[in-house]
């Protein structure tokens, strides 16, 4: 067990896919040589979003659906910090949907890990935006009537420069994807299949395990057309891996004083510097 980032008691159900994600995350950070104070995890509310309490890094455990806005600001305020988001599918694609689509446009330097269990875990089993059509839940008694959101395709459409998928049941793969996402300079979406053993009796470990396959080594993730095709694959075989990756100017790159200067948080504050603006009013 990785203890570099300490070990805390969790409130998750035994067998929950979140354990695999937490383990892989700790090891990914360790292997990247990051220290606890150099990392911030922002999260919303949900089972996934409890992660800041289970790992010793800086943490912003905010409101349900609102992990992205603070994460963006933290990156802008202090470009020296590694900003990671861990949150649920409901948090990210449901309550937080508007932030999701617009955050991609901002391309702040954030690794965004969505624990996608295709259900609302913490509130006991209602449909999430990624719950399959027809699935019965603790609220949708006659089955979900909406088509699910396709996170990968949506991220590609919004112009994300890094889009990947992994599975909490595949430690090595997940750790690799996390390292890639964290190392990527810009907004990186990593959608992670995470069995919820309590409330999602359809998308079980077995269900995912039988379906996921790793994209081949010769898969060209810089080809957007390829990426869109892969994004549509769903059913008996579901691809995991880096689906799309290109370099793009980040939010920081786009603002000169952020790019060339020290971290914004280190700026010296001096009221007298603003006195000259009085001239606008003379």
């Amino acid at each position: 067990m990785n203890t570099a980032f300490e070990t805390y008691e969790t409130a998750w159900c035994p067998g929950c896919g979140n354990f695999g994600i937490l383990n892989a995350l700790k090891d990914a950070l360790t292997e990247l040589g990051l220290k606890s104070h150099q990392v911030v995890i922002a999260s919303g509310i949900g089972q996934a979003a409890k992660i800041p309490h289970y790992i010793n890094v800086n943490g912003f455990n905010g409101l349900h659906g609102r992990a992205l806005p603070p994460a963006i600001a933290i990156n802008i305020a202090n470009k020296d910090l590694k900003v990671i988001i861990d949150s649920g599918d409901g948090d990210t694609y449901g309550e937080g949907g508007n932030h999701f689509i617009h955050a991609i446009r901002r391309n702040a330097n954030i690794a965004h890990f969505v624990h996608d269990n295709q259900i609302y875990g913490l509130t006991k089993g209602q449909a999430s935006p990624t719950t399959a059509k027809g699935q019965k839940t603790s609220l949708q008694f006659d089955g979900v009537i909406l088509d699910p959101v396709k996170p990968i395709k949506l991220a590609l459409t919004m112009g994300a420069g890094f889009v990947a998928r992994s599975f909490s049941g595949n430690y090595e793969h997940l750790k690799k994807m996390m390292k890639e996402a964290i190392s990527y300079n810009g907004y990186a979406l990593l959608d992670i299949f995470q069995p919820c053993v309590t409330f999602n009796k359809v998308n079980t470990f077995k269900w995912y395990n039988e379906r996921v396959y790793e994209l081949p080594d010769d898969y060209d993730y810089t080809d957007i057309d390829n990426a869109f095709k892969v994004a549509d694959e769903w059913g008996d075989r579901i691809p995991i891996g880096i689906i799309y990756k290109v370099e793009k100017p980040t939010y920081i790159d786009n603002i000169k004083f952020l790019k060339d200067g020290p971290p914004l948080v280190d700026a010296k504050l001096d009221p007298m510097m603003a006195e000259k603006y009085l001239d606008d009013f003379r």
């Binding site: 104070h37 509310i45 800086n58 409101l63 000169k256 004083f257 504050l269 009085l278 009013f281 003379r282």
Partner: protein, 562 residues
């Protein structure tokens, strides 16, 4: 001397620009100037107007009767000619009226001759300047700041042409030049924020709050401030809180509807104990209401914004000068107590232009209350350490090797870790609530103006200060025993002076620009003092000093019991 001018026209006719030239010229001559905007929620057409008062002495509010009117459309004549004083002058284009009491010229033709049809209004300003005997050369300095090249040329020609059309009509002595600046409420907030070291502003446009963000954005490159227009107001506050967590002075703001979307975030600031300054520039509600008009209708909503119980501070702003200094103070208080501080303004104050002494930047003290490693105990950092005062030392994440900062929207222990303990809950609530006690010491009692221990006590808050101050001055001249308490800090509610003066007053008159007397409800709740009479206006146009004066006189007559 005290003159009052109205410039009216349709949206898109440029009355903003020409009035600005007029106002700035007056200001640069050394006059005290006060301008107020009345505009519709549309970009072209309709009827807008600006009122400009100027004098040798400080001016605190607008007035209802005019010495001169510049009419760029027929509506202006139609609506406002009746409030022209007997000796007043009305300036308009020939095409608008053939009434020979008016000063009318073919401004369009003149503009054409200046080779720019859009300078007709500038010619009218030329006329206006001459009527009051204002020297033209001062106006050139303003034109020089506003325009360039051909457009500048045309405007100079136009203002000259106007100047030559008439003879002076008012006998005016020019004041001594002075150092004053001329600034609006929103600009003063923006300048205060920049002076206080704001480094992050996230917001979403909403009239009448937008110009705070716009001014900061204008300076953002030079002052190295990030101004981010976000997808919605929810993002605005959560982003600002992220910036605050990371160590920046952060700010957001909106008007009622946008602010409504922030209230969950305010509650988040409450439990996470993150400093944040939020501006609420009120407009008449509910919902979309009147986007470009004024009201003081959101006070209670603001005070109680956010679910659950936590300390916040609410400061209402009186005028641009107050706006500047209180904005600075808001940042310092937010940092000191790690709480949300809300600045309450309104469309009236947002848009008024006022001459004030240049803000004293030497007086601006930036007090961050951020700790270094002295915040650790045996190398351990607890974000929510229980302390005597309730305030825990705050450090910046990432700045101390091996030390992490965890904040949490759930109820949490001293480390910021989620808890379900009753004992910790009680301690954490007490810790947060202790700050309310500290705030009570920080709080500024209302400003008192007027005779000491007056029979008639007026109560008001925020931007109502100006109209009330002038009304009180007028009433005092009449020899009445009158005084007023003008509340700035409004939550926690300062109770000392209202209790003190309330006891002696024969009649308390509560003056508010709303329908439900919200300040009065706060006085009742917090000081068990109730107003006897009310002057409430909720037609979305700010009441004037004259309006208040008349009603106070009426009340003092009819209320035989006092």
């Amino acid at each position: 001397m005290d003159y009052n001018i109205l410039i009216g026209g349709a949206a898109g006719q440029g009355i903003d620009t020409i009035s600005h030239i007029f106002e700035k010229t007056l200001k640069r001559c050394g006059f005290y100037v006060f301008s107020m905007k009345d505009y519709m929620s549309r970009v072209r057409g309709g009827h807008n107007f600006i009122q400009v008062r100027f004098s040798h002495n400080p001016i605190y509010s607008h007035d209802e009767y005019f010495d001169a009117i510049v009419a760029l459309d027929f509506e202006t004549i139609n609506l406002h000619a009746k409030v022209l004083k007997t000796a007043g002058k009305l300036i308009c284009d020939k095409s608008l009226s053939d009434d020979d009491r008016y000063i009318s010229f073919d401004f369009k033709e003149i503009a054409k001759k200046c080779s720019n049809p859009r300078v007709a209004g500038t010619t009218a300003i030329g006329v206006l300047l001459k009527l009051f005997g204002i020297p033209l050369d001062v106006s050139y300095t303003v034109l020089n700041d506003e325009f360039k090249g051909d457009v500048l040329e045309a405007n100079i020609k136009a203002i000259n042409a106007g100047y030559n059309l008439v003879e002076p009509a008012f006998a005016i002595t020019l004041p001594k030049k002075n150092e004053n600046i001329y600034i609006s409420g929103n600009e003063a907030i923006a300048l205060g924020a920049i002076a206080a070291g704001v480094k992050f502003y996230s917001g979403y446009p909403m009239t009448p709050s937008t110009s705070v963000m716009t001014y900061i954005a204008k300076k953002s490159r030079d002052a190295e401030i990030v101004v981010e227009q976000v997808e919605d107001e929810i993002s605005a506050i959560n982003m600002a809180l992220g910036a605050s967590y990371a160590g920046l002075r952060a700010m957001t703001g909106s008007s009622g509807g946008g602010f409504a979307l922030m209230v969950e975030g305010i509650s988040l600031a409450g439990i996470t104990e993150l400093p944040i300054v939020i501006t609420e520039v009120q407009r008449p509600g509910p919902a979309t209401g009147f986007p470009t008009r004024t009201e003081q209708g959101d006070l209670r909503f603001i005070i109680h914004a956010g679910h659950g119980e936590f300390p916040k501070m609410v400061i209402s702003l009186r005028n641009p000068e107050d706006a500047f200094y209180q904005t600075v103070r808001a940042f310092n208080i937010a940092d000191k107590y790690q709480i949300p501080v809300i600045l309450v303004s309104d469309q009236y104050l947002a848009d008024v232009g006022t001459t004030v002494k240049p803000f004293d930047f030497n007086k601006v003290k930036i007090e961050r209350h951020i700790s270094g490693s002295e915040a650790l105990e045996d190398g351990v950092y607890k974000r929510y350490r229980f302390t005597e005062s309730g305030v825990s030392p705050r450090i910046i994440p990432g700045k101390i090797e091996g030390v992490t900062v965890l904040i949490d929207s759930d109820e949490h222990d001293e480390f910021g870790h989620i808890t379900e303990s009753q004992e910790i809950r009680i301690k954490m609530v007490n810790k947060r609530m202790k700050k309310l006690k500290l705030l009570e010491e920080e709080i500024q009692e209302p400003l008192f103006i007027g005779t000491e221990n007056p029979d008639i006590l007026i109560t008001c808050w925020g931007s109502m200060y100006g109209p009330v101050k002038e009304a009180v001055d007028m009433l005092l001249k009449d020899g009445m025993s009158v005084g007023a308490l003008s509340f700035g800090d409004i939550w926690p509610f300062p109770t000392k002076l209202i209790k003190k003066y309330g006891r002696f007053a024969k009649v308390i008159i509560d003056v508010e620009q709303n329908a439900t007397a919200q300040l009065d409800s706060l006085m009742r709740e917090n000081a068990l003092v109730k107003a006897d009479e009310y002057i409430l206006k909720y037609d979305s146009r700010m009441m004037s000093s004259k309006y208040i004066y008349d009603r106070v006189r009426e009340i003092s007559k009819t209320s035989s019991m006092y």
